[in-house]
């Protein structure tokens, strides 16, 4: 360990993070949300959309859950009323039920006694079937990785495609994989995170990103399977389990064998103004699904450094990583699925900025030695000067190599201009290849001077993180968020979008998915 961190201080930091998270975990356990219920039904097999609806395609699952809520509330969960109705109406599939429900033929109630037991059993069986698909996908991934191989090097090379059109995305993703990408992330259209439903089908009209839909997931995973075979390594696919539909998208990812998902415990609150309680409930469920699916989550600490200053706010990244780690562990995710995020966002004009970056990156590395850290490129200080930007990205790549980062999100010289062009991605990969090839082993020669600039800076940031955690334990995490602690965004616990979708669980709440996913502590 190059930084010589005090294990006592590190342990204190983790202890404080656990204490800060505790009340929030309790809240998360005590509530459900419309999206958690929809996710459960998706696991139980519901698919498709009501294309006759005046507001455009509305997924059947939304129709059903909304109707359940209307009829009997969601505090007992959707599974009981839904599977009870299925039996009552003697319907074969949930889709048939949805159609009946849309036609106004179904009246949902919470079953009692033997009805409840029967509904519960049927629901559990259906959900278990869904989970078996998830399990099969996980096994299939393992098989394919064994067959085609993992990337030969660390960091893994992670590339974004974002044309808005799934067909163009496929073109770009294939070319990126051939040029060396190990992970492809399909960025979502602006606005999707605030949709309280998951769009259906293949889509072609996103803005600055492509809609996350089950069909788009399938298309892209199939394309990547093809190209994986061709390039002789398993190319991973990433999307976003984030926003109002976080739990459902997590389920769809498990069903379509996605490999990584952006999934943060606070991003939606801070950057999408989503209600904090909604977010904490949703993230817990979605992480349970990810744990089951063997999906690596990517947390979003990098974002803080786009709204706050990367030097002044460095310790908030560390605090958030510790919180994300705790929430993830609590939801059953092991270290090797924790793609904690951090970023190279210091103003390049700051003296010794590169060494400051090294200090921050090493701190994360040494605090989370077993986590597949995700190292994000400069964005905020990228400008239209694409030459400068290309250079800065090169130094970002170098910092990644020097500090042993696990997943390298490849920076684009056009960051301040457009969502990436085909050529931007290709040049960016050439940049990565040069740095990894030419300086791949330089870590051997990188020995921060004991008590030198880098070591001191890392200790300072850790110290500030411990202090901040202490204050959060005292004030409560929700208050800290309300005060603008993270990314300078002030988000009160009772504000934000999607609050109306949060429901306090009743005593008899039943959710077979939660039960099957809950790992024994």
């Amino acid at each position: 360990m190059l930084l010589d961190l005090d294990p006592e201080v590190v342990a204190t930091a983790r202890r404080l993070a656990a204490r800060a998270a505790e009340p929030v975990v309790a809240i998360a356990k005590a509530h459900t949300t419309v999206s958690v219920e929809r996710a459960t039904l998706r696991l139980a097999g519901i698919t498709g959309a009501d294309s006759t609806h005046r507001a455009g395609d509305v997924p059947w699952v939304n129709r059903v859950v909304d109707t359940v809520r209307e009829h009997c509330g969601l505090e007992h969960g959707a599974a009981l009323p839904v599977f009870h109705a299925l039996r009552q109406h003697d319907l074969g599939t949930l889709t048939e039920l949805a159609e009946a429900c849309a036609a106004g033929q179904v009246r949902f109630t919470v079953p009692e006694g033997r009805d409840r037991a029967r509904a519960e059993k049927a629901a559990r069986a259906a959900v278990a079937r869904g989970l078996r698909t998830v399990d099969r996908n996980r096994a299939q991934r393992e098989k394919l990785v064994a067959r085609w191989g993992d990337p030969p090097q660390r960091p893994w090379i992670y590339l974004i495609v974002a044309t808005g059109d799934i067909d163009e995305d496929v073109v770009q993703a294939r070319n990126a994989a051939r040029a060396g990408a190990d992970v492809i992330a399909v960025i979502r259209s602006t606005g999707q995170s605030l949709l309280d439903y998951v769009p259906e089908g293949a889509t072609h009209h996103g803005f600055a990103g492509t809609y996350a839909t089950q069909e788009n997931f399938r298309i892209m995973r199939a394309a990547l399977d093809e190209v994986s075979k061709e390039v002789g390594r398993y190319v991973r696919l990433t999307n976003y389990a984030s926003g109002l539909c976080m739990p459902e998208i997590a389920v769809l990812a498990g069903l379509q064998r996605l490999d990584m998902m952006l999934n943060d415990s606070m991003y939606g609150i801070l950057f999408r103004d989503i209600n904090p309680i909604r977010t904490f409930v949703d993230q817990r469920f979605s992480r349970q699904v990810h744990a089951r699916a063997g999906i690596i989550i990517n947390t979003g600490e990098d974002n803080y450094l786009t709204t706050a200053d990367a030097v002044q706010a460095a310790h908030t990244v560390t605090v958030s990583q510790l919180l994300n780690e705790h929430f993830a562990h609590e939801a059953g995710l092991p270290d090797h699925l924790l793609g904690l995020g951090h970023a190279f966002e210091i103003d390049p004009k700051v003296p010794e900025s590169f060494r400051l970056e090294l200090a921050h990156a090493l701190l994360a590395r040494e605090l989370f030695p077993d986590a597949p850290l995700k190292w994000m490129p400069p964005t905020k200080h990228m400008t239209g000067n694409v030459f400068d930007g290309y250079l800065l990205d090169g130094f970002f790549n170098l910092a990644g190599v020097l500090t042993g980062q696990s997943i390298l999100l490849v920076g684009m010289m056009t960051e301040a201009v457009v969502t990436p062009f085909l050529s931007d991605r290709d040049l960016a990969l050439a940049n990565v290849r040069y740095v990894l090839g030419a300086a791949g082993g330089l870590r051997e020669d990188f020995r921060p001077a004991p008590d030198g600039f880098i070591v001191k800076r890392a200790h300072q940031v850790l110290g500030e993180a411990v202090d901040l955690l202490g204050r959060i334990v005292d004030d409560g995490l929700l208050n800290a968020i309300a005060d603008g602690t993270f990314g300078l965004m002030k988000r009160p616990a009772d504000g934000g979008k999607g609050a109306e979708g949060v429901v306090e669980k009743a005593a008899g709440y039943c959710n077979p998915a939660s039960e099957l996913l809950e790992v024994p502590a």
Binding site: G164, R272, D273, T307, G384, V418
Partner: protein, 247 residues
């Protein structure tokens, strides 16, 4: 300064430019020829295709250098000249007090699905931008910042409720011309809802062309690197002009 100028590589008048692009053509001499043709059509002649490489099997990336035949006529350059003086915060406050005898109400938002608030916050928040305090710092301005992803109808409603003198919207995402579509939609909605009594409409964001105000149906467009002081000074100027027209 001369009226007619050409790009400068290392000698006055040499016209040298660099360009790069991708063509959906497989790598090879034919692709280089295609790149040369395109560069020629852009006015670069002779065009030196100094680099090309394959991107997959269907695309080729090129770097081209050469002299461009076009000449810039500086007298024909159209720019939005700042048509008003830059005022200090104190001057802005004094002018507003004199003009309106009440606070000037500014409503700001990122509209549509755009969630990039840093730009509008740089203009509105006290913290400001480039060393200048934001509009919240001005005593005679009342700033209502609605934040991100505000739907246009919601914006119109709030602007009306607040009796906004000016509405400031930010648009950062430009893919598929999102910024232009959203801005036009916003302008149309205000026109429809309030006609000539609509507030001043101001759009801003890094990829806007300041010349486009008319076409977008707004009063003013601010681009890359705008400072709060410019916006505040403009507000004074625009409110004064409106009053003068009304008078």
């Amino acid at each position: 300064m001369k009226r007619h100028v050409r790009p400068y590589g290392d000698t006055t008048g040499d016209g040298m430019v660099q360009t790069s692009f991708t063509l959906p053509v497989p790598f090879g001499p034919k692709a280089d020829g295609a790149a040369r043709q395109l560069a020629n059509r852009m006015g670069i002649d002779p065009a030196m295709v100094v680099h090309s490489h394959a991107i997959g099997e269907e695309f080729t990336f090129f770097v081209v250098y050469g002299p461009v035949r076009h000449v810039v006529d500086l007298e024909q350059v159209r720019v939005v000249e700042r048509e008003y003086p830059l005022l200090s915060p104190a001057e802005v406050n004094a002018a507003v007090r004199k003009l309106l005898r009440r606070k000037l109400v500014v409503v700001g938002a990122c509209i549509g699905t755009d969630a990039h608030t840093v730009g509008i916050d740089a203009i509105l928040n006290i913290k400001g931008f480039a060393g200048e305090k934001g509009l919240e710092y001005y005593r005679e301005l009342k700033v209502v910042n609605l934040g991100a992803q505000v739907p246009v109808p919601e914006l119109v409603r709030r602007a009306r409720a607040e009796k906004a003198d000016a509405v400031l919207v930010s648009q950062v995402v430009t893919q598929r011309d999102a910024h232009l579509l959203n801005t036009r939609e916003m302008a149309a909605a205000f026109r429809e809802a309030m006609g000539a009594r609509r507030p001043l409409l101001i759009a801003g964001g890094p990829r806007f062309d300041p010349l486009a105000a008319g076409e977008l149906g707004v009063d003013r467009v601010f681009g890359r690197g705008t400072t709060p002081g410019e916006v505040a000074s403009y507000l004074v100027h625009a409110v004064r002009s409106r009053k003068e027209v009304a008078a």
